[in-house]
Symmetry: C2
Subunit: 204 residues, 2 copies
DNA sequence: CGATCCGTATGACATCTGTCATCCGGCGGT
DNA sequence: ACCGCCGGATGACAGATGTCATACGGATCG
């Protein structure tokens, strides 16, 4: 090849990040030119290193890999984006695609798919698990409104209605109403289940 | 050296597992002789490959890395055990040590510590993050009884009292009593918070 | 043997949660 | 101009949840 593919690695757990770097280091057409541990460091690193492909974990401090992807997509439209995640949540796939991702991989896929995906996106292909794609389409869009999501997110840690009302500057009754409609939309029977299924679908 | 260290790698996410294998492959005194993706496959693999060190993730299907560690410790006392986890929960450290682990590493420690830990445990040393060790000691033992833990675990997904009573073969009142005492022991104000803090401490 | 803890259970009570009907103002379509 | 949806709110009601006192049998420890 004329020159190797320059890759940025964004992943907060250093052991995993460096292990992935070691893995990619075995491929002689791929070079890891930068590593970051936070979502909010991705954009600067992409700018600084003339990266061809950014490999982004979703769960990161600073900002999520999906947000980071959106920013890179806006500022550096030529950079290819591979989103890598522990959780194969259909909602994540959807948001990743909306953020401009070129590939979506789950961490329990075989390691060989990683280098392969990097080469494919550089060739202009998109890489998505077909099963996950089907699930994302079958499930439909997030039915929750922004406010309902916020309340649900705030309720996730077990806060009581009174606390939620205080922190969100709402009346206690309104909090109950939002939670009630969220519970109905998600077809579950209480807030705990609502939080659970919203999380599972990647809607939270 | 005379011969390389034989390592078993147990981790459910193949991408991470194979990446760690690549990382360890860079060390010329270490050889990954077996890889498994489930906790309940660890014991057999250890027996089959004459493993020197078993590297165990905690969160795995089949059984947890801690349970796997306990079994290996019982059946093959000579095998050194390194427990690796995403979550630096003091309760995990405690249980890992009780299960006979020789090292406890969190995945956001630098990758270099992994090979280092493997060599150290083989030399008879123990490897523990001092900060985490202090936290584990400071926090004290798990105050929950076995039954309280079970009920809390079952309640974690948002099941109602009636459902819990059915699945655990208890009266509804008894379920409430257990949850109530758990809530008081954890000094929180409802079951959701109880689940949350018990999880955080690694007590669940 | 008594003290203490655990598992299990009941009943009564207070509070929290979830539902429903209803209302208001604002904003985006048609 | 009107309809429908969203954010926000109230009040009433039923059911779920959390607390407390109390009880009994078994285990364990002194």
């Amino acid at each position: 090849m004329t020159s190797s593919i320059k890759v940025l690695l964004a992943e907060d757990q250093s052991m995993v990040r460096e292990a992935l770097a070691a893995l990619l280091g075995l491929e002689d057409d791929i070079e890891v030119v930068a590593q970051v541990a936070r979502g909010d460091e991705v954009l600067a690193a992409v700018g600084a290193h003339g990266v061809d492909v950014a490999l982004l974990d979703i769960e990161m401090p600073g900002c999520t890999g999906i947000e980071a992807a959106a920013r890179v997509h806006r500022e550096h439209p030529g950079v290819k984006l591979v989103v890598l995640t522990t959780f194969g949540r259909p909602g994540y796939l959807r948001s990743a695609m909306e953020a401009g991702a070129d590939a979506f991989l789950v961490k329990d896929a075989p390691a060989a798919q990683l280098a392969e995906a990097i080469r494919k996106v550089l060739a202009g292909e998109r890489v998505i698990d077909p099963t996950l794609a089907a699930a994302a389409l079958a499930e439909g869009a997030n039915p929750l409104t922004e406010r309902e999501r916020e309340v649900l997110r705030a309720a996730a840690d077990g806060s009581t209605n009174a606390e939620l009302a205080r922190t969100l500057h709402l009346s206690q009754g309104t909090v109950r109403n939002y939670l009630s409609t969220a519970i109905q939309k998600l077809a579950v029977r209480n807030r705990a289940e609502a939080v659970r299924t919203a999380r599972e679908k990647g809607w939270l």
